[in-house]
Amino acid sequence: MRVEIAKTGVKDLRKITDIIKSILIFKEPKEVEKFVLEEDKNEDGNSSTKEKSTKKEANSEPGSTQKRENWVTSIMTAPFVIDKEKKGGEKGDKDENSKKESKNSKNQKDNISKKISENLDYIKKKYSIPTNGDIVLREFDITVKDRTISAFAVFIDGMTDRMVINHAILQPLLMLSNLDIKGNPNELGEYIKKHLLPQGQLNIFNTFEKVISEVNFGGCAVFIDGLDVAFTADVKGWEHRGVERPNTELVIRGPQEGFTEVLRVNTALVRKILKDEDLIVENVEIGRRSKTPCSMLYIKDIANEKLVNEVRRRLKSIKIDYLQDSGELEQLIEDSTILHTPQMIDTERPDRVASMLAEGKVAVIVNGSPFALVMPATATELFRSAEDSYVRFPYGNFFKFIRIIGLFITLLLPGFYIATINYHVEMIPTDLLLAIEASRERVPFPSIVEILILEISFELIREAGIRIPGPIGPTLGIIGALILGQAAVAANIVSPILIIVVAVTGIGSFSIPSFSLAFSLRVLRFGYILLGTLAGFLGFTTGLFIHLVTLVNAKSFGVPFMVPIGPRTSDRYIDDIVRAPVWKQEKRPDYLNTKDVRKQPHISRGWVRDENRGDKENE
């Protein structure tokens, strides 16, 4: 007994020393090759075109199902809580990870058989058909020449467009098949596909897996007796929100369309603006259960190859159960999780996505989320609102300047105020100082407590304001701010000048176009308050310095975050801080190392003629 206690005691001691050692001793860093966006030597995109096209075709062929399964196999061996003992084929419980085993032996069991009854049973078991209320199983017969072949269709009610199923699948198979068949009746599958099913998007599969995933996403599967393949038609049609105004990025001048939750609608909105055949919309599926379809958009002969490959690599290497929203995706593929600034731009506006694609960036749209992610992001991009290009030149820069002031106010003003009031009183003009002191005279708290109270209550009001229902919502925001503030002043809990400081800070944070950045600043503000109260301007400066140094070190997809200011790239491209007029923006951003650098010729306004040169128009 004692020996045991002693032994455990020694073990604990060793454990503690191990812990201390591991904290204090320097660990060699693992050599991870970080992604750096370098110049692409490839000037013409011909070779890459071929690559892309072959990849696309490969995706849609049935033979590629093998490849995709191997890819699926590879990511399944992740260190998740996967129970490899579960047999595949045991169904019904979607909660456990039984569905996703894909050892090779299972594949053969999941092949569609020629006998329709087996298929029917399999489908019934898989979908728990009587229990599962919204799966529709429609059995029917096809008459071909003299034979009657039984078939059935499977689809999920509510996810499919019933009209299309009736018209394009059931009707032709039921009725039109009475026509004469020309050709070999043995090639029934091809015949049915090519002649009888007038649906636009039609696939032929020979494993259940593919069929089931299609049906899950709003397809309709048709099984025909005697064929060991099944047809799936894409008949998606569920209720969704129409294209409305974007909720978060409102502009005065510019289109008022925003993304919705449907992937195809979103990509269509982007394609509507960039009618370019080089705009590639690549499909990626993320998430084992949710199988969320995502699209990666880029313009093939502008975007840097390495950037595109890197984005694709990151997207494909994600192993996760459910992917709900682009916010989660952002956190999964960003470079640094704890860096306070966002490393991707999230936007709800298709016109912004289109303009950023035209600069050479890559966009990712996730099904189910109206926010698209555009990467890489730099500090100056986060400041651009959608209106900057639509508004005329004289005042376009003025607004940007105001926004930058808003940024500095929201980050630095409370800390600056605290540092000044507590440490550097001599800096304030005497009149103002006496007024401040008079108003603070009756307040029982020290300044730091006061400011923390006010800041936290401001954040509370903000959070509450989002969730307050209906008509009370906006009113309570205003009332809360004004009346509560006024009452607090009258009750001598806070001083009026502090209300102004906090209100201006809040307003400044609303002026920042990227609300992700605004969130981060709201949090950092507290850090500055803390530093300002610890050591006055010295602490404030330390905070600024550390902030700046970490920002400068940050990278977003291989591009340094502070790029036009940090490393000085070629200074022809001035649209970073001060926007040039539209006709002067001739080149794409240098840091993206795009394939095609020039986007406008030197004279982009053909009507401006130079006498010596006569009529020179743009290309």
Partner: protein, 436 residues
């Protein structure tokens, strides 16, 4: 293992941070824990070296949204103590005052004449070194006692005594009867080996009612005038009564740290003109053609004055070239001076008048005070190559034999709103000059 590592590490980090937060904030003073001194007065003390008067602002008087602040009385708090030195006095005061004294907003430091004549160098030194007191603080020498002066300052037009001092003591920009004597100016001029310093003169008004006005303190007789002009007074003698008891006029002349004399308002304007610090002022001139009438002009500096200093037989000969411009403000006699023929008469008259006064002023500084307050020595410095030679030259000893030549060039630019004075008709129906 890694998780618990991280946890322990973060625990240690947090506790370190909390420890700094507990012990930190050494210099943190809340705004309402400090008492802000607006003015410091220094007198010769009876029981100790100096008697220090502190005038502090009471912020409650000008809070917003509170019950209306009190009368002017309530906005300042004045205390007087005796102490060996300035900062020791702060020590004593902190003992009975509830808040800690903060000198960083002190606007004015008042020395009494007695103290100034003894020498204020030691106090200037300590003010230089102490970080709280800024160079923008005004210095004032008061003719009576500093305490009396400070107690008499009860600002009526504003609530904040700091504002009162700031505005009052910069009034030289438009009256030119005092000089801008900030601590910084004093220090710079004093430490420059080519000039000496002046300090504004202040006092409390001595007249209780307008019947008591007398010309005893005026200097007009010394200047050979029949009637006193408004600049011929020093602080304390100005013929005025009113709610505001404190007044400033004239400057005190310092040699090193000791006060050696005073100048009245008009001489101070000459000083400002020569020094190049002159902005503008209203100048009253006896009418050249009509006695008993005055012409008032608004004079401002045309160009900065130029002077040359030459040494002839160990005596400095100083030639001054002063250019001024002016606008006519009032011609009491109605004489049509705006006419281009008559304009030179006025200009000449001004030039003569000012030249006379300026020469008197210059000889006063040279012979009587031996104090080069106008900074002629700085011009002299240009002639030397080396600092050692300059020191050997010893300018201050040479100044008392200086000879001056003044050349004033005055031009009238604008006549105000009236471009031609026409005579006034009376009931007799004749054209009459107003002065007849």
């Amino acid at each position: 293992m890694e998780k618990s590592n991280f946890r322990i590490f973060s625990l240690i980090l947090i506790s370190v941070i909390i420890c700094t937060m507990i012990t930190g904030c050494f210099d943190r003073r809340e705004v309402d824990e400090l008492a802000y001194v607006m003015a410091i007065g220094l007198d010769k003390g009876k029981t100790n070296d100096i008697k220090m008067t502190l005038q502090m602002a009471v912020p409650l008087a000008f809070g917003s949204g509170n019950e209306g602040g009190g009368e002017g009385d309530k906005s300042v708090l004045v205390t007087t103590i005796e102490t060996p030195s300035i900062v020791s006095g702060l020590n004593i005061t902190n003992n009975f005052l509830s808040k800690q004294i903060n000198l960083s907003h002190a606007k004015v430091i008042v020395f009494s004449e007695e103290l100034a004549r003894e020498g204020i160098q030691k106090y200037i030194n300590s003010l230089e070194r102490f970080r709280d007191v800024r160079g923008n603080t005004y210095l004032v020498v008061s003719k009576g006692s500093a305490e009396e002066y400070l107690r008499s300052v009860k600002p009526v037009l504003e609530v904040n005594p700091a504002k009162f001092f700031e505005l009052n003591l910069t009034s030289y920009r438009y009256t030119s009867y005092t000089a801008g004597s900030q601590l910084l100016d004093f220090f710079l001029q004093q430490s420059s080996s080519g000039s000496q310093a002046v300090v504004t003169l202040a006092a409390t008004g001595k007249y209780e009612s307008s019947d008591e006005f007398s010309l005893n303190g005026s200097t007009y007789k010394e200047k050979g005038r029949d009637n006193p002009l408004e600049g011929d007074f020093k602080a304390g003698n100005i013929p005025r009564v009113g709610d505001i008891k404190s007044e400033i006029m004239g400057v005190a002349v310092f040699d090193g740290g000791k006060m050696v004399g005073e100048l009245d308002g008009e001489e101070t304007s000459n000083y400002l003109i020569i020094n190049g610090k002159f902005k503008n002022f209203y100048f009253t001139l006896p009418d050249p053609l009509f006695d008993e009438e005055y012409v008032v002009l608004n004079i401002n500096s045309g160009r900065s004055p130029g002077f040359r200093v030459n040494m002839v037989d160990e005596k400095p000969i100083i030639d001054l070239n002063i250019r001024l411009e002016g606008d006519i403000i009032s011609i009491q006699s109605g004489e049509n001076y705006e006419d281009l023929d008559k304009l030179p008469i006025l200009e000449r008259a001004v030039e003569e008048f000012m030249k006379k006064d300026m020469l008197k002023f210059l000889y006063k500084t040279s012979r009587e005070f031996n104090c080069d307050i106008c900074g002629f020595g700085k011009e002299m410095k240009k002639k030397f190559i080396d600092w050692n030679e300059w020191e050997k030259f010893n300018w201050p000893s040479k100044y008392k034999n200086a000879e001056f030549n003044v050349n004033i060039d005055f031009k009238i630019r604008r006549p105000g709103l009236i471009v031609q004075s026409v005579p006034v008709y009376t009931t007799e129906g004749e054209k009459v000059m107003p002065s007849d």
